[in-house]
């Protein structure tokens, strides 16, 4: 399954730095997100778009993770040639990430 089954996301920028939230629809799925969506997986997922550090922050009481990606390839919001200079659509790319679907999602 893709992350979109379990979680929602919003992305934004501060210059060359992009952040992506990942929020479980049901907080009971948070441990699964925390286990599967590691810094390494996010770095690999966005390898063509970012070449800098990836940092993960955890907010378990909100069932949320926050990823900070540095080093946007082609420059930040004001100088990039990208069609989406702010990277607001990156949230949709994160939600396409595949995770094992051995457990069904928590019913909504």
């Amino acid at each position: 399954m893709t992350l979109r089954t379990l979680a929602h996301s919003r992305s934004g920028d501060k210059g060359p730095v992009t952040n992506l939230s990942l929020i479980a629809f049901d907080a009971r799925d948070f441990p699964r997100l925390a286990r599967e969506v590691t810094v390494e997986r996010v770095r690999a997922h966005f390898a063509n778009l970012f070449d800098g550090d990836v940092t993960r922050y955890e907010l378990p009481q909100l069932g949320a993770l926050n990823f900070v990606l540095r080093g946007r390839v082609g420059g930040g919001v004001t100088s990039t040639q990208a069609l989406d200079p702010h990277g607001k659509s990156f949230s949709s790319a994160l939600l396409e990430m595949e995770i094992p679907d051995d457990d069904p999602p928590t019913p909504r």
Partner: protein
């Protein structure tokens, strides 16, 4: 216990106006805040002011205030905004004219100045955060340097009885912290309170983003009546949970999910959200439903503010030329790619290096590149749009991009249509820091 009601009437410079009028008329507000200043907006405003001293503030200022001031005046709602951009004094004069034309003579309007620190950063020659190089290296290209100022001068303007407060580069959350600090008499070192006020500001500052305006995904995350999206307001008691809500019967939704997305929007470390007022800590934030379209939020903390203020630097950074053309039907993707290769080769012959040129196929791989777009189940699209861009030093070189794309009509693959082209100046933004003792703000009150 007294509760302050603050609404947010705009989350960016081009935001819709009707929801702000709805808030002013039906929000039972004490304060209505308009956040209209992105990083690049103030650099563009400085350029406008350099061309004409009467300009440099938000071009929609008069239209917005004409729409909301009658209701605000009638109901005693104080307006706070950063629409002053690069010229808060000129914005204040225009606001006086708007007020008089509306028959609101006597309205007290304050301009907060002092965020323009261009001379000071050049004199200190501080380092640019992104490059580690001194600011002086940008000298001729530098068009603006604005420090992010905090809530104190805005609260001072409120204490002076201002009914409209207009700033330049105030930090977004500070626009909301100021009325709370003023109403509850928070000291400038009341860190937990300022952290709590910053949470209010951060949740409200993008207006419709917290009321469902950047949330809908049909079938998965549905939002009712987006066409009539209402803007948010916060009910803030002196202590304890705040409530985020909107005007009853307006469109959109305030839910725990919309509030969580906004809490983490454009945040890096949620334990250290730095503003000129405080280092806010959102790691202990909790949310609970408090009725329909009402979410109670609690648990923000704060610690001592940074000694240095962040400065946004705007500088001229070359040009980007762009051209687009569409292809349809079988083979559209192949023709689009061929067209891109032709333009890249022709630009290289004119001296625009291949690495400065970027080709995207809109509808295929433009947003996230070929790797993320390579889904095994993806079908060929019926149509694609080739987008070619090149970053250049000179405007003439940038113009060749659109010209070469247009020339594909008679010099490229079959069936291309709908060419569009443009050249734009690149105004880049970088950051530096300045000691807050070098930034002195001034409040000027005018009576309409």
């Amino acid at each position: 216990m007294r509760t302050i009601r603050i609404g947010c009437g705009a989350g960016f410079s081009g935001d819709r106006i009707d929801p702000a009028v709805e808030l002013a008329e039906h929000g039972d507000l004490d304060y209505l805040v308009f956040e209209c200043l992105a990083e690049r907006t103030i650099a563009l405003a400085q350029q406008a002011r350099a061309r004409d001293q009467r300009l440099g503030f938000d071009p929609l200022l008069a239209e917005r205030l004409e729409a909301v001031l009658p209701a605000c005046h009638e109901r005693g709602v104080t307006v706070i905004t950063n629409m002053g951009a690069a010229n808060p004094r000129a914005a204040s004069e225009t606001t006086c004219e708007v007020a008089r034309a509306l028959g609101l003579g006597g309205l007290r309007i304050a301009a907060v100045t002092g965020d323009d620190v261009l001379e000071a950063v050049v004199a200190c020659d501080s380092l640019v955060e992104e490059t580690g190089r001194p600011v002086s290296e940008l000298r001729d290209a530098l068009v603006s340097a604005n420090a992010y100022i905090g809530h104190e001068p805005i609260a001072q303007a409120l204490a002076a009885g201002a009914q409209v407060v207009i700033t330049g580069r105030a930090a977004d959350p500070s626009l909301f912290v100021a009325p709370l600090a003023h109403a509850f008499r928070w000291r400038a070192d009341a860190w937990p309170e300022l952290g709590r006020g910053t949470l209010v500001g951060h949740l409200l500052e993008c207006a419709g983003q917290v009321t469902g305006g950047y949330f809908a995904d049909p079938g998965l995350k549905d939002v009712a009546d987006l066409a009539n999206l209402g803007f948010p307001l916060a009910e803030v008691p002196e202590a304890g949970p705040i409530v985020i809500t909107k005007v009853p019967r307006s469109g959109g939704a305030v839910t725990i999910a919309t509030c969580k997305e906004q809490l983490l929007y454009e945040i890096q470390d949620p334990g250290a959200y730095m503003t000129p007022d405080v280092v806010a800590d959102f790691t202990g934030v909790s949310m609970a439903t408090a009725g329909g379209d009402r979410v109670a939020v609690d648990g923000a903390a704060g610690r001592a503010r940074p000694e240095m203020l962040k400065v946004s630097l705007g500088y001229r950074d070359g040009y980007i030329g762009e051209g687009q053309i569409s292809y349809a039907g079988a083979g559209a993707v192949a023709r689009g790619r061929l067209a891109g290769e032709i333009v890249v080769a022709r630009l290289a012959q004119r001296g625009v290096p291949r690495e400065a040129v970027r080709c995207d196929l809109i509808g295929v791989d433009a947003l996230h590149g070929p790797a993320l777009a390579a889904s095994p189940t993806a079908l060929p699209p019926y149509e694609v749009r080739l987008r070619v861009t090149a970053r250049t030093e000179r405007a003439i070189e940038a113009s060749w991009v659109g010209r070469e794309v247009e020339a594909l009509y008679t010099n490229g693959p079959a069936g291309g249509g709908g060419v569009g082209k443009q050249v734009r100046d690149v105004l880049s933004i970088a950051s530096t820091f300045i000691d807050r003792s070098l930034v002195s703000c001034r409040v000027t009150v005018e009576v309409a």
